[in-house]
Symmetry: C2
Subunit: 174 residues, 2 copies
Amino acid sequence: MHVSAILTVIGRDRPGLTQALADVVAETGGNWGDSQLARLGGHYVGSVLVELPAGGLPALEQALRCLPDDLTVTLVEVTPEPHPPEGSRFSVSLVGQDRQGILREVTSVLAEMGVNIESLETGLEHEAWTGQKLFRADVQIFVPASLPLEVVADALEHISGEIMVDINLSEALR
Amino acid sequence: MHVSAILTVIGRDRPGLTQALADVVAETGGNWGDSQLARLGGHYVGSVLVELPAGGLPALEQALRCLPDDLTVTLVEVTPEPHPPEGSRFSVSLVGQDRQGILREVTSVLAEMGVNIESLETGLEHEAWTGQKLFRADVQIFVPASLPLEVVADALEHISGEIMVDINLSEALR
């Protein structure tokens, strides 16, 4: 029997940081699975799915506490997933002039319909001609089988006009 | 004046989770910048770079505490980055039969040379023919100008033979 846990980390980017984490995981008998770590605002930030021998969580927790103080680490045990609902995946891409609350308004529309966001990547970029700041988001959504896609498309089109951003809905690549 | 902070989140995947976060950020006057959130082991995990009005950090901290208990949230203030060192970026891709400690051994070699890992993505997959579990890692590294690339290439080739994984070093795409 194994237990799984998700480890998140925020630390000042520097050589040896990944190694320090990998050391701790290996020393406590853990196996490093899916992970995604990247620079964000000059820090090194990300998450790792770790598989541990049964009862191995406290040892990993303890060992993580010995990492340097400027490393913020969180450990959460992964509990078995409830049965997956039926439905389909779609991609939503969004781009518009950056201002507070864009993401909030779009995600609020999705949540009201019971649409789940499975992944989200956002970024700010400067428009070449005007120098204006643009907010860009790529969203993978899961639409439950009970919800017609037209309803989602209409809702997104409506909010797109209201908050003046371009929103595109397409079939998910994966 | 603004302050920046990195917010990490681990929560059970469900509709409305991104909206709950976006609500809190918008309500405390924050702006949602670069972010990356995705499913990991049935959870929704990721990080967001948030820009806040000066002195706005305690308000965001307070508001985050009101989120549901099954959401683990961390907030870390971003301090100005020290001057960036000179050097070049390269990509390292690695694939081999999964076993404990692969990543530790490779990252330890990189850290010893003073090579910085800027991003890391790992995953486990099953080999089509044998059904064996394969560990795959894509790493973006920063090699300081004082370190010849040949030294890095030789060290990676050496460890590759020792731990029996394929390692490829190439120019970074970005």
